[in-house]
């Protein structure tokens, strides 16, 4: 029972940024003298070696896969063998769309302790403790894993800062057993094509959510956004309903408000998936009728008000 194994995530030839955050997440529970290894699973894993050669990593294990695209069967077979051979006490995986597709299966097959979307990891004596949210993130839930020699955790993105600088960890390779191919990747499709606005580049965003109520109400917020000089974005339900194009959706499965410095959220309750795309913004102003809405826990300023009344009053402020 020793060591920590971080599973790197890559897609279409690029390392996913959450990978390096796992290296930092591991430090809090690392025992003196125990080793931290990063596993690179890909058709050509050596191309990612430089990207994960950061301080804190002792070893990089390249695991060549026969498939180029994401294949849960291939990952489960390879990782099951690698974990079986090395018996790390802790395995960290980014909590991501890819890990949604294989992490629980890997844990079940191996009988590992398991928790998903973990944002805090600690040790208390011999016990490993993992903390995640519950009941719509209104409570924290602290978990332990009695009797489990290996614990697999998927770790929330943007919680831990990636290490800075370069290092020269040892590089080894592991030959993974092949899995039968039951799933064939076909193509990647960009859904944002065709819209005139790139939400990732917008500095000031007015985003609307479920509170808008119906499609006919969207127009007044479009007009408001124009009047105050904001790009109009939205949370998932608005895009799913087709009231705004998918390219306007901010959040985990939509766009990240990367360049945004001012975010005005109207009628958005603040689901974790939406927060993932905007909670980093320097100034967030949230307007919501429900004083207990989660959005107020990440906002800089809050207004408890009816969004239509407030929208009309704000519009009046910008009439010359």
């Amino acid at each position: 029972m020793s060591g920590i194994l971080v599973i790197a995530e890559q897609r279409r030839g690029e390392l996913r940024p959450a990978t390096l955050e796992m290296v930092t997440a591991a430090q809090a529970v690392r025992r003196p003298g125990s080793r931290l290894a990063v596993a690179l699973l890909a058709d050509e894993p050596q191309r990612f070696v430089a990207a994960v050669s950061v301080p804190g990593v002792d070893e990089i294990v390249t695991v060549p896969l026969a498939v180029r695209d994401f294949d849960p069967d291939a990952l489960e077979a390879a990782l099951g063998a690698l974990i079986g051979a090395r018996r790390p006490s802790l395995v960290l995986v980014p909590h991501s769309i890819d890990s949604f597709g294989y992490a629980a299966a890997l844990a079940v097959k191996g009988g590992y302790g398991f928790a998903s979307d973990v944002f805090r990891i600690a040790r208390e004596g011999e016990a490993l403790l993992a903390t995640r949210g519950g009941y719509g993130q209104k409570v924290n839930v602290e978990l332990d894993f009695p009797g489990k020699a290996v614990v697999l955790l998927t770790v929330r993105a943007n919680v831990f800062k990636p290490p800075e600088g370069q290092a020269t960890p040892a590089v080894s390779t592991f030959a993974a057993p092949a899995a039968r191919v039951r799933l064939i990747g076909r193509e990647y499709i960009e859904v944002s094509a065709g819209d005139d606005i790139d939400m990732t580049g917008a500095e000031f965003i007015l985003a609307i959510g479920r509170g808008v109520g119906e499609q006919a109400n969207v127009e007044q917020f479009r007009e408001l956004a124009d009047a105050i000089g904001a790009a109009l974005g939205c949370s998932r339900p608005i895009a799913d309903a087709g009231w705004l194009p998918k390219s306007r959706q901010i959040g985990q499965s939509g766009k990240t408000a990367s360049a945004c410095t001012l975010y005005l959220a109207m009628g958005i309750s603040g689901a974790i998936q939406h927060l993932a795309g905007m909670k980093h913004v320097a100034t967030i102003v949230a307007v919501n009728q429900d004083a207990s809405a989660s959005i107020f826990s990440v906002a800089t300023y809050g207004v408890v008000a009816d969004i239509f009344e407030f929208g009309a009053a704000l519009r009046a402020q910008f009439r010359s």
């Binding site: 009988g111 924290n140 799933l183 766009k255 809050g302």
Partner: protein
């Protein structure tokens, strides 16, 4: 041909709530229950397969939960599910997502569906684990966070699109039987008519225990779990600086913030 739809009766918290005396959950009295939003979309997807098929397709809704979970199953029946199974035993209390998956897998072994749909996650605890754990137990192909599904009842494979981060879709072909976890927005779930709600109230819900499904005590509840709740608590949360006053005063303050932070251009 049969499609199994695994559903959950999720719990939201009342505005005021209390943590249970053992510190490991919220007092049940403070939980407001409903069918998981994601599961509404998986059921609709199953109904679409059924309605497009040239041969009979049975849609079976399955839920692990105590008696109050019947309400979630009644919703499924009202929207067109043919049958409903609820599995419960007090030994299932304290089960994590994986131990719930063991029960659903046991039902699937008995029922032999050709497709098993589950929500990509649940609104309450967002484990995003149950469906994929079921697939591992059945040793079936699996794909998560599906926003498009093309499947003809009885076909040997399906074409799915999973929704990746940043507005990208990944199209894949997957062998069936398979487990797919369904993302919001894949379809527009129907509303149940008053008539079908009334009819659903009269339909039977088959109630089973883990023992009925030949599960061993070691697979059930805490024993079959891969994690254990030590404690649950209300975290210290950041709180926005609230802007008070009349609606015009509030709007004036926000307008001022906008002008300050956008250089007064607007």
């Amino acid at each position: 041909m049969k499609v199994l739809v695994a559903v959950k009766q999720v719990a939201a918290l009342d505005e005021d709530f209390a943590i249970r005396a053992d510190g490991r959950d919220v007092e049940a009295d403070f939980l407001v229950r409903d069918l998981n939003e994601w599961d509404d979309y998986s059921l609709e997807e199953a109904m679409k397969i059924k309605e497009a098929a040239g041969t009979p397709v049975e849609v079976l809704a399955v839920c692990v939960g105590a008696e109050e979970a019947d309400e979630a199953l009644r919703k499924c029946l009202a929207k067109g599910a043919d049958r409903a199974i609820r599995v419960w035993d007090d030994a299932l209390a304290g089960a994590d997502a994986i131990a719930i998956a063991r029960v659903i897998a046991a039902v699937a072994r008995r029922e032999q569906p050709q497709l098993l749909l589950a929500g990509a996650q649940a609104a309450d605890h967002a484990f995003a684990s149950t469906g994929i754990a079921v697939a591992a137990l059945l040793e079936w192909p699996h794909a998560a966070v599906i926003t498009q599904l093309a499947y003809t009842a009885g076909a040997q494979s399906a074409v799915v699109r999973r929704e990746l981060e940043g507005g990208v879709l990944h199209e894949m072909q997957i062998e069936c039987p398979a487990v797919l976890t369904i993302q919001l927005g894949i379809n527009t779930p129907r509303y149940a008519s008053l008539r079908s709600i009334k009819q659903a109230a009269a339909k039977p819900i088959e109630v089973l225990t883990p023992a009925d499904l030949k599960m061993t005590p070691g697979e059930v509840g805490e024993a079959g779990s891969l994690s254990r709740v030590r404690r649950m608590y209300v975290p210290e949360k950041g709180r926005a600086q609230m802007i008070e006053g009349s609606i015009d005063e509030q709007a004036a303050r926000v307008a001022q913030l906008i002008r300050e932070r956008t250089g007064g251009a607007a």
